[in-house]
């Protein structure tokens, strides 16, 4: 620690920190534009010039290391003169038309100009004009003349997003921020550049000129999308969410949010919003009152429970539903005698149900990811599924960590990957077993006391051959001090998810690593804690897959669009069509119009209070920011009334907080999180058909399925701007070039993809990084929703 004096205040600061850091500690504000605490130091705006005693000229506070005994004056005559001079230079080319600028009122340049700018400009010559660039559907550069070349956006791309998409072309007066030949900025974090831009050069395309910043009221909220639970501020104008920006929370989202969090609000006002309860009568949809609709539902459920039995009623919810909604849904179901309730719609292997000792979670606090030095990421389209967790891992890798990947696809993670095993889905278990075996051989047989390894399982590893990649991964993990083994969405959706998780836990145990699940959605951990799983209470029932395999007579759907949200949409649709009654509680009209009998308009996260329990087990509650649209009502209220109508005891809640508190009173959250599984025995591990070297039947492939980032939930699917990005391009079938050649197809050809007897036509594309014998077909899109399970065999033929 060193002592320095800033404006007469003594501050202690770390060796190697800058005058700017020390000033923050002392609570002294130094004006700045290019400096940002999360980005590297550029020192190119010069706004932070300060006077340092014994230095011959003013120095930039952001780039001057603090030294013992240094005396800094931020408001001395010299400093103020320097700062005013810089401001005058900055304003030479910057347009002086704040009233018509979209950034006006929330502009750092405008604010600082109030303090340091002149009342009038001495510059009368022509100002520089910069032509707007086309960089995609999310960020507008129409006002590029306002750019002051701080390069924050460029550095954000390089350092945080991991891909440099914007750069500063040309030199000095001609310097311009642009992308390469007007290509779109594709980063899933690109929206943060809008926040970072200290002027009005980069603005939000969907939001531009729809509101002035002072007309907006700011309400805190939590992202309903991925398992991180990013903290949001909803900016509301006239009872509409006008835009979304991050709320800084170092422990969760730092100061960033993903584009999905930022721009999904457009879906809230989509024309597809369901605003009136509707009942199907004589195959026509008629709008009815809430009372009529709920009475209809209650009667229907009562009848089915009475005639067929309560076990013929099933409930499916998305993990994007709030904690309160999930809790009440399962309480309602169990209250009427059915345990058929599940929120794990895309999961296919439920073998760990009943063996889990707690709710699966990240295995560590989110912020600890940055401190890990070894990663094994199993089955995850990491960047698109968890944009901000990927960012944290990227920082850890940059700081010297090593990332290892076992997966069936090889998308660029925009970080250095030390070792990767890209194998067909059927070989993933084998691949993990290899790593486990390599670790055991490396460390000697584990003693039963010290290890979690179940010795009965060891024989199953005997026939496994360790490949070089597996050995390298094992070595990399063993060499780490703070390793983490993380299971992604793909691994959790895998038909052998239980085995994968068990192996991952053993691997983690052997290298003292943290073992965790990356949560697919806002309540992927919360859903377990809310008890919205069939094995959670004494009244047990069927899981999401069983409910479809054994069609039920009635389905309650909470936020779920089964044609897009389920592991096997084909099966789901068939089950819905067969059912006597399907009640769709949804914020949107969707394909349920074809198969449902009742549509209940419920409020999306901005219109209800609720809680999301994120992957690290952090319960974050939020309040409704706007009134529900039309006759939509918060789902917890709908479920409460249904509970009352069905005479289920304990449904007299007045607030969502009462629901939450009741559920949370069952024990401290932290104690209920546990990834350990009891009594799992490793089954004999057969190498997959591809590993055996056998030729697969021509035209038959293992399906690899990703859920593209902007098709992942009901809200983003309706966010207009996000739907125009490259990430939302219509699905294509991707295959290895060799496979394509064998089929006599070329990239861009139309192919007929068949699964479960249903064919769809998709364009084929080459992805040379995919393993042979697989075809990658995305889920979550109407173009592929006719197909069957996310895993399994399908055929590809020339169309």
């Amino acid at each position: 620690m060193i002592n320095i004096e800033i404006d007469g205040k003594l501050v202690e600061t770390e060796r190697g920190s800058t005058v700017m850091d020390a000033a923050h500690k002392a609570g002294v504000y130094i004006p700045h534009f290019c400096y940002h605490k999360k980005l590297s130091i550029a020192a190119n705006c010069r706004m932070c010039l300060v006077e340092v005693e014994k230095a011959p000229k003013p120095l930039p506070a952001c780039a001057t290391p603090a030294a013992e005994g240094m005396k800094v004056h931020t408001h001395s005559e010299l400093a103020i003169k320097a700062q005013k001079g810089v401001m005058e230079f900055l304003l030479i080319n910057h347009p002086l038309d704040c009233p018509i600028c979209d950034q006006g009122g929330e502009c750092q340049l405008q604010d600082i100009a109030v303090g340091y700018g002149g009342g009038a400009s001495r510059y009368t010559e022509e100002k520089r004009m910069v032509n707007p660039k086309q960089i995609g559907e999310l960020i507008s550069t129409l006002e590029m003349s306002r750019c002051i070349q701080c390069t924050r956006c460029v550095r954000f791309g390089q350092e945080i997003a991991g891909q440099m998409e914007l750069g500063m072309a040309n030199r000095s007066e001609h310097a311009e921020i642009m992308s390469f030949v007007d290509s779109a900025v594709d980063s899933e974090l690109s929206g943060n550049m809008i926040d970072l831009c200290p002027v009005g050069a980069l603005t939000s395309k969907p939001f531009r000129y729809t509101a002035r910043s002072w007309e907006l009221s700011r309400r805190k909220s939590v992202s309903p999308h991925d398992g991180l639970g990013a903290n949001l501020a909803l900016h509301v104008k006239e009872n509409k969410v006008a835009r979304v920006v991050p709320v800084e929370n170092e422990a969760v989202n730092e100061c960033w949010i993903s584009d999905k969090d930022r721009f999904s609000y457009e879906g809230l006002n989509s024309p597809e919003r369901l605003t009136k309860p509707m009942i199907r009568q004589d195959n026509k949809w008629i709008e009815v009152d809430w009372a009529v609709a709920l009475e209809y539902v209650a009667n229907g459920l009562r009848q089915i429970a009475g005639s067929a039995g309560a076990e013929y009623i099933a409930a499916l919810a998305t993990p994007h539903s709030t904690f309160e909604e999930l809790y009440l849904l399962q309480k309602l179901m169990r209250g009427i005698g059915s345990g058929n309730v599940d929120f794990r719609l895309r999961q296919s292997d439920f073998s760990s149900d009943g063996k889990l000792t707690g709710a699966p979670w990240l295995g560590m606090p989110v912020s600890e990811i940055n401190a890990c030095d070894r990663f094994l990421i199993v089955g995850s389209f990491l960047r698109k599924d968890h944009p901000l967790l990927a960012q944290r891992i990227r920082q850890a890798v940059k700081a010297g960590g090593e990332a290892n990947v076992v997966h069936a696809g090889d998308d660029d993670l925009l970080m250095k990957v030390a070792n990767k095993a890209i194998v067909a889905p059927a070989d993933m278990v084998n691949q993990l077993a290899q790593i486990l075996k390599a670790l055991i051989e490396d460390q000697g047989a584990p003693s039963t006391q010290s290890s979690v390894l179940n010795p009965q399982s060891l024989p199953a590893l005997q026939g496994i051959e360790i490949t070089d990649t597996a050995l390298s991964i094992a070595k990399s993990l063993a060499a780490g001090e703070r390793a983490a083994v993380l299971l992604g969405n793909f691994a959790q959706q895998h038909p052998q998810a239980g085995q994968l998780a068990w192996l991952a836990e053993q691997i983690a145990g052997l290298c003292s690593a943290k073992f965790g699940f990356l949560g697919e959605a806002a309540n992927s951990t919360g859903g377990y804690l809310a008890g919205a799983v069939p094995f959670a209470a004494t009244v047990q029932g069927m899981n999401a897959a069983q409910m479809l395999e054994n069609p039920r007579k009635a389905y309650l759907l909470l936020n779920a669009e089964v044609e897009l949200d389920m592991h096997n949409p084909q099966l789901a649709i068939a089950a819905m069509r067969k059912a006597d009654m399907v009640v769709a509680m949804s914020a949107f009209k969707h394909q349920a119009m074809d198969y449902a009998d009742v549509l209940l308009p419920i409020a999306p996260f901005t219109e209800t209070s609720g809680t999301f329990v994120n992957a690290e087990g952090r319960a974050q509650s939020f309040k409704g920011a706007v009134k529900p649209l039309g006759d939509a009502r918060p789902a917890w209220k709908v479920l409460r009334v249904l509970g009352n109508l069905l005479d289920v005891a304990g449904f007299d809640y007045n607030t969502s907080e009462a629901v939450r508190d009741e559920c949370l009173s069952q024990g401290a959250l932290a104690d209920r999180l546990d990834n350990h599984m009891d009594d799992v025995e490793l089954q004999g591990i057969q190498p997959g058909p591809l590993l055996q070297g056998g030729e697969a039947q021509p035209g038959k492939f293992q399906r690899v399925t990703d859920v593209p980032i902007y098709f992942a939930d009901a809200l983003v699917r309706r966010a207009a701007s996000l739907q125009q990005t490259n990430d939302a391009a219509p699905p294509v079938a991707m295959l290895h070039g060799d496979e394509l050649q064998k089929l006599g197809l070329q990239s861009g050809d139309l192919a007929c993809v068949t699964q479960g007897g249903i064919s769809v036509q998709l364009t084929v594309k080459i992805d040379g990084k995919l393993p042979r014998g697989v075809v990658r077909v995305p889920a979550g899109h109407p173009a592929t929703s006719g197909l069957g399970a996310m895993f399994g065999e399908l055929t590809v033929e020339r169309a």
């Binding site: 891909q163 440099m164 998409e165 750069g167 500063m168 040309n170 642009m178 390469f180 030949v181």
Partner: protein
């Protein structure tokens, strides 16, 4: 695609730098492309980016920062006249006027037959030879007067 000659040249450059810092060779790579083609297109830039495993925009940043890279087709011979202070004091304006009248083109233009291009340059650091121009950034021709320019152009015309 970068020609095999360019690839060989870049590979030789790459030996000078650590293996994980291939982008250090970007300026040389741009130069090789310009030597071969006379100018650098954005397609060439993205080829270089792929070859050196660096972002395309980073190549564009370098290519647009330095004056000597031609970002549009120039003549077979590009004449770059220095118009900085020393040269101007020694008659660079006259050199430019004479070249313009002889070639019938202005700065940034190419003759109809594609033989000559004319560019305005910055100080070449050889002020004792002012006024001067360079030929294809490689050869410096100093102490220019009308006869000397005629002679140089005639030679270039022949070659």
């Amino acid at each position: 695609m970068l020609s095999s000659l360019i690839q060989d040249q870049i590979n030789r450059e790459l030996k000078k730098y650590p293996v994980d810092q291939k982008q250090s060779a970007v300026m040389s790579a741009l130069r090789f492309v310009q030597d071969e083609k006379g100018w650098i297109s954005t397609d060439d830039m993205s080829d270089i980016a792929d070859y050196l495993n660096m972002p395309q925009i980073a190549v564009l940043e370098v290519a647009t920062f330095y004056h000597m890279y031609n970002l549009k087709p120039m003549g077979k011979t590009t004449i770059t006249v220095c118009t900085n202070l020393s040269c101007t004091l020694c008659g660079a304006e006259d050199t430019v006027a004479y070249l313009e009248s002889k070639l019938g083109i202005g700065f940034g233009e190419v003759t109809a037959d594609g033989k000559f291009g004319l560019r305005e340059g910055e100080c070449m650091g050889a002020c004792m030879d002012a006024p001067l121009f360079t030929i294809n950034n490689k050869k410096l021709c100093g102490r220019l007067n009308h006869e000397k320019i005629d002679q140089i152009l005639a030679e270039l015309d022949k070659s």
